[in-house]
């Protein structure tokens, strides 16, 4: 033991005067890891745009991309909490499948006999039923994992098989279609989008929320006399945030309804269509709005509630959380219940989008969901991960997939690329962490 202990320089090597970029990052407190992911996404998008001959960065493709990402993005937010507590859920694809089948049968075969065909409440009842089933399945997984002590890997590996089999059994393999007309809106499409005006409305509300958050955060920090960000940094953060939101809305609004549907709509409404065809914007798709809402709620749960704090504390040191008086078993069970609920929401999105419930639905989704969370910076050794990162990870995965489809790559080659990219992304993350830790 030397007598330097008290004043040992802990981070002497890193305390070099930062350059302009360093100072900018420090003042705005932007997460460099997140920045890296956005950079990677930009590279992927521009790369595919060039390689596909200019069809990737079009409103139409980006809009489709957003809808295709929604289901996995919803599940990835729950997977973050599962992985943060050093668990894994291999069953989400199968759970999605069985809930899809149950919701399908419930709304197409059970409810019509009860309340009539295409009743206004059908979609809500079906969704509520799915969420209940999801919570129950999750509670069962969580109970076996937390209270009976069976490792999550095994329980959910079992679940992967059990629920896939159960999905088949619901109708002995028969596909259920069509879905209720209102339920279908959950899946997007021309009808399932909110149009230009409402999209701008959503955009403005979001921008207002960003500004309120910044102002509120600043006021709170001032109340307790904590160091404040420089004003210009707040301004930059606000502008970047609002800029992103408005740009996304503008893109969604630039994608018009297909000409035939627009013409039919014009005829039905008695609007006189101009000769070049009516321009009706899609605007944001409903599944995208659902995914964003889920992301906001899950971020809130993860960062602003006790439950979220416990999730991360358990991930950092399960024994410490226990000794501090956290009921770790209950928290674990609740995480899996939440995962089940999110599977139900994701299942509603993909069932509605397909307008049918099939027993193969969600096959391999568990791997995409885990990959999204891990690419998004969730550490498999526990304790680290963000909801936004996972959703961005889902977007990266889906961008790769859809880009390769646009380029006309064969399916086997696509899976090879996705697999390789997953390993590469995690390796880069390990290198990054080793450098910053």
């Amino acid at each position: 033991m030397t007598d330097h202990t008290a004043s040992a320089p802990v981070s002497g090597a890193r305390e070099i005067t930062p350059g302009p970029i360093g100072r900018f990052l420090e003042a705005t407190e932007i997460d460099t890891r997140m920045l890296g992911m956005i950079g990677a996404l930009a590279v992927i998008w521009i790369g595919f745009h060039i390689a596909s001959g200019g069809v990737f960065l079009t409103p139409r493709n980006l809009w489709n991309l957003s809808v295709q990402t929604a289901s996995i993005a919803v599940m990835s937010t729950g997977m973050v909490l599962v992985i943060v507590t050093r668990n894994i859920d291999l069953s989400v694809g199968s759970v999605l499948g069985v809930i899809g089948m149950l919701m399908g049968v419930f709304q197409a075969e059970f409810l019509p006999g009860l309340i009539g065909f295409d009743h206004g409440a059908t979609w809500l009842l079906a969704l509520a039923f799915g969420i209940l089933v999801g919570a129950a399945i999750g509670a069962l997984h969580g109970y076996v994992i937390a209270y009976l002590g069976v490792p999550a890997f095994i329980v959910t590996l079992g679940g992967l098989l059990v629920w896939r089999g159960a999905a088949w059994w619901v109708t002995s393999g028969r596909t259920v279609a069509p879905m209720d007309s209102t339920f279908r809106l959950i899946g997007g499409g021309t009808e399932g989008s909110i149009g230009a005006a409402a999209s701008w409305g959503v955009g403005l509300v979001t921008c207002a929320a960003i500004i309120v958050m910044l102002v509120n955060g600043r006021r709170q920090r001032r109340r307790f006399k904590f160091p404040l960000r420089p004003l210009w940094a707040e301004g930059v953060l606000g502008s970047i945030g609002c800029g992103f939101v408005l740009a996304a809305i503008w893109i969604a609004n630039s994608y018009p309804w297909p000409k035939r549907i627009a013409a039919r709509y014009a005829e039905a409404q008695g609007i006189e269509a101009p000769p070049e065809g009516l321009f009706i914007s899609h605007g944001l798709a409903i599944p995208v709005l659902i995914a964003i809402a889920v992301g906001v709620v899950m971020t809130f749960i993860a960062t602003r509630t006790r439950f979220g704090r416990y999730v991360f504390a358990i991930g950092g040191n399960p024994e410490a959380a226990d000794l501090a008086g956290v009921n770790t078993k209950r928290v674990k069970m609740m995480i899996f219940m939440l995962m089940g609920v999110l599977c139900a929401i994701a299942s509603a999105i993909s069932t509605a989008r397909l307008n049918a419930a099939t027993n193969a639905q969600g096959t391999l989704d568990e791997l995409f969901t885990i990959a999204a969370a891990v690419i998004g910076g969730t550490s498999l050794s526990g304790g680290v991960g963000t909801i936004a990162g996972a959703m961005l990870g889902a977007l990266v995965m889906q961008s790769l997939q859809s880009g390769m489809v646009l380029m006309g790559l064969d399916t086997p080659l696509q899976t090879i690329v996705v697999g390789a990219v997953l390993v590469l992304a995690v390796w880069l993350d390990i290198v990054y962490r080793r450098k910053t830790a």
Binding site: M1, T2, D3, H4, T5, A6, A8, V10, S11, Q220, R221, R223, F224, F226, F300, T303, R304, T305, R306, G308, R309, F312, A313, I314, G315, G316, N317, E319, A320, A321, D322, L323, A324, G325, V326, N327, G383, V384
Partner: protein
């Protein structure tokens, strides 16, 4: 000092498999008193106090606080009786910051029921300012802190919630001489406030400096309990190494029988 002990652990036993880690041990602690628990590694000291802090469930024995029988089955129960623990491993969640660790399990919340991080950070700055005025890294996860800083976070957590009974398991093991002295001062201050402290330490000089009484364990059994003024360092070493109970001590069931 009143006649009723603040804590009395009577005939505690716990076994892991066939190994009797703690075998029929009784210790007590009065308010404003420091009782040291001594013994080799594996003598059962940490296991004994982990029963008191609720981390382990005893196989047999009773725990009394203020003369009343308690039901301590988990750490939450122990905290309800005002029993706080500084573990040898510190038991910090490395991936979250000092304030989150300080309030882990007892988070401050806003009127909306959400975490009041700002208030928690403010409280954390206040308590850390008293314990370790140089501490400035409130935003970093505790994994990034030095051994001494981590120790202060663990200590802060134990004393911030008006503990009546404090268990300190090797509180100075990770510290330099200057910080060790700070901890010693802290122990004296807490003692003056009427808090009862169980102190586990390897450093016999520390123990003689701080403790009012000491209980020595060997192979899971109690060798004996003595007032610090009634025994010498050599006699205590004899208790630890040989299990030989000197005349100044009250022998326990683990004392060498032919001791004379």
């Amino acid at each position: 000092m009143s006649d009723t002990p603040l804590v009395e652990m009577r005939d505690m036993s716990i076994a892991f498999g066939g190994n009797h880690a703690v075998d029929n041990v009784s210790v007590d602690l009065f308010s404003g008193e420091v009782v040291a628990l001594l013994g080799h590694n594996g003598a059962g000291k940490s296991t004994l106090i982990k029963i008191l802090s609720g981390a382990y469930r005893r196989d047999a024995g009773e725990i009394y606080v203020d003369g009343e029988l308690t039901h301590i089955d988990n750490p939450r129960d122990a905290k309800r009786y005002g029993i706080e623990t500084i573990y040898q491993t510190l038991a910090l969640a490395d991936n979250v910051d000092a304030a989150a660790n300080l309030f882990l399990g007892r988070e401050l919340r806003t009127k909306w029921g959400t975490l009041d991080d700002v208030a928690m950070e403010a409280a954390c700055r206040e308590v850390m300012g008293r314990l370790n005025p140089n501490f400035q890294r409130f935003k970093d996860p505790v994994a990034a802190l030095s051994g001494g800083q981590r120790q202060s976070v663990a200590i802060a957590r134990a004393i911030h919630f008006n503990a009546r009974i404090l268990i300190m398991d090797e509180p100075t093991a990770a510290l330099g001489p200057q910080e060790t002295e700070q901890v010693a001062d802290l122990i004296k201050k807490l003692k003056a406030e009427g808090i009862g402290i169980f102190l586990i330490s390897h450093d016999i000089h520390d123990v003689f400096d701080l403790a009012d009484r000491m209980s020595v364990m060997k192979n899971g059994r109690l060798v004996g309990t003595a007032r610090t003024v009634d025994v010498t360092e050599d006699e205590v070493l004899g208790m630890i190494i040989l299990g030989k109970c000197p005349p100044g001590a009250i022998p326990g069931p683990g004392a060498l029988s032919e001791a004379a």
